[in-house]
């Protein structure tokens, strides 16, 4: 297959960037989007052009490292990460625009590589549980209902890729933060820090310069893990409840 690429090139964090045009030729239909870029890069190297920088790691859709906004949609159209997007989903000869994930809290490092450590700092602000280390606890020692376990699992599916914040016209990370708050807060192991967690994580999210939710639901449409936006509603009510507890002087 053959494609016409428009790729965002940027030398460094503060350098200005622009779209450069490249032709991708002899691309097998079964190549993934990242493999297509590998082929283009090897062709560029032959022509003495700097290869296009992009993030990738596991290439099997579970690590959350690959990014790319393809024709204006983070991870491209269809459910799944960029590494799980195949060139057969595009028309032969199609023009494809590739941009980095855009959000003020995700500065571009180079070309299509963005710095997503803001998510790590949000996690450090409460995305953990206090659990005894050492020998593994007894399986099934803590009873958890199937309904709660399922819902927590839906939230735990979040791989922290940042597509939600990149898709949001407000650069809001609420889908990510709400997934973590829901996943840990629903289970008995995460209950002790429930209030502290939601307060800490939301405040850190605001601190990092992520925007506010306007209920556009673009986040949920692009989420490769299918995390539902109703978790944002749950986080909103948990945050307000924890804030009220804090206001009346309860320990949180």
């Amino acid at each position: 297959m053959k494609f016409h690429l428009k790729v965002w090139r940027q030398k460094s964090c503060n350098a200005p960037g622009n779209l450069e045009e490249y032709d991708a030729e002899n691309i097998p239909a079964e190549a993934s989007f990242l493999e297509m870029l590998d082929i283009v890069n090897s062709q560029l190297t032959g022509k003495n052009i700097e290869p296009i920088q992009f993030d990738s790691d596991c290439r099997e859709g579970i690590c959350g490292n690959c990014s790319l906004t393809i024709n204006g949609i983070p991870h491209g159209k269809g459910r799944g990460t960029t590494c799980q997007l195949y060139m057969r989903n595009f028309q032969d000869g199609e023009t494809i625009t590739i941009e980095p994930f855009r959000a003020d809290a995700f500065p571009v490092r180079r070309d299509l590589v963005t710095n997503r450590t803001a998510f790590d700092r949000v996690m450090q602000a409460g995305g953990y549980i206090s659990e005894r280390s050492g020998s593994a606890p007894d399986a099934n020692a803590v009873p958890i209902s199937k309904v709660i376990a399922d819902e927590a699992m839906d939230a735990a599916a979040c791989i922290g890729c940042g597509a939600c914040a990149a898709a949001c016209p407000n650069g809001s990370a609420m889908l990510f933060v709400s997934a973590k708050v829901t996943h840990l807060g629903l289970l008995p192991q995460g209950k002790p820090e429930k209030n502290r967690r939601v307060l800490g994580m939301v405040r850190q999210m605001d601190e990092e310069g992520f925007g506010n939710c306007s209920n556009y639901y673009a986040c949920e449409a692009v989420c490769p893990a299918g995390v539902p936006a109703s978790f944002i509603g749950r986080m909103n009510r948990e945050f307000t409840a924890a804030s009220v507890k804090e206001m009346i002087g309860l320990n949180v």
């Binding site: 428009k6 855009r102 016209p169 407000n170 809001s172 939710c213 306007s214 449409a221 749950r234 009510r237």
Partner: protein, 245 residues
């Protein structure tokens, strides 16, 4: 002397301030003031419907409202404060949202966002200008100063003839068109706003969200139908013909 080193000294903003100016706090204030305004819009429409009961019913309703005196002014000031808070917190959110996404995508895609959601600020500002016109038109009565002197007899008392004023007000095509456009934009605003407030307040889950969205849209269009029925009844179907001399 033993002094406690515990958290008796608090530095920085207090918890209430932290909540109000957090992302979720600001959104909550916009949604709570939004609820108050939606309730007002529903109540206002119910009052307007007295026009279908004839001149005496509407004039009596207006007279009753005005006889509330200081209570009416308290309600007016509360509504004004609600509108101010609604707009002020929206502007704070807007400023942050613009800063959070400084660079737009060159190849942009709306990704499932609705036109109602994307035009909230624009529709809100148009509704605001419509409300200001509406107040100038029927409350302060400066658009057509002849509205000031419309009086009628009601149970032997001299009262302001609201019925005749409304009929005369809606006898002009540009005014009726302006009202329909203003109300259409209000419908746009509410069809996203009403469903959003459930999400913002967290009274939601994955199953019920689509029901809220449908209900919000139905309520918004029902309000549109109710409100526009009055200028259309007057202008097109000649309701109250002869009332305005």
């Amino acid at each position: 002397m033993i002094t406690s080193s515990s958290s008796s000294v608090r530095t920085g903003p207090c918890p209430a301030q932290l909540w109000i100016f957090s992302s979720i706090g600001k959104k909550t204030i916009v949604s709570l003031t939004g609820i108050a305004l939606v309730l007002f819009v529903i109540g206002h429409l119910l009052g307007n419907f007295t026009i279908y009961l004839g001149p005496d019913a509407m004039n009596l309703y207006a007279e009753k409202l005005h006889s509330l005196g200081p209570i009416l002014w308290a309600i007016r000031l509360a509504l004004l404060a609600t509108v101010v808070l609604h707009i002020y917190f929206t502007m704070l959110l807007w400023k942050e949202n613009k800063a959070a996404r400084p660079q737009k995508y060159i190849a942009s895609d709306p990704i499932k966002t609705t036109v109602f959601a994307r035009t909230m600020r624009l529709s809100g500002l148009i509704v605001l200008s419509f409300v200001i016109f509406h107040l100038a038109h029927f409350t302060v009565r400066v658009v057509d100063p002849s509205f000031q002197n419309m009086e009628t007899q009601l149970d032997g008392r001299q009262v302001h003839d609201v019925y005749a004023m409304v009929v005369k007000g809606f006898s002009s095509a540009p005014v009726v068109l302006g009202y329909v456009i203003g109300l259409f934009l209000l419908t746009f605003h509410l069809s996203h706003g009403i469903s959003s407030l459930f999400q913002t307040l967290g009274i939601t889950n994955s199953h019920i969200r689509h029901t809220y969205e449908l209900a919000a849209r139905v309520l918004a269009w029902a309000l549109f139908a109710g409100y526009t029925s009055i200028p259309i009844a007057v202008f097109v179907f000649g309701l109250g013909k002869g009332a305005a001399q």
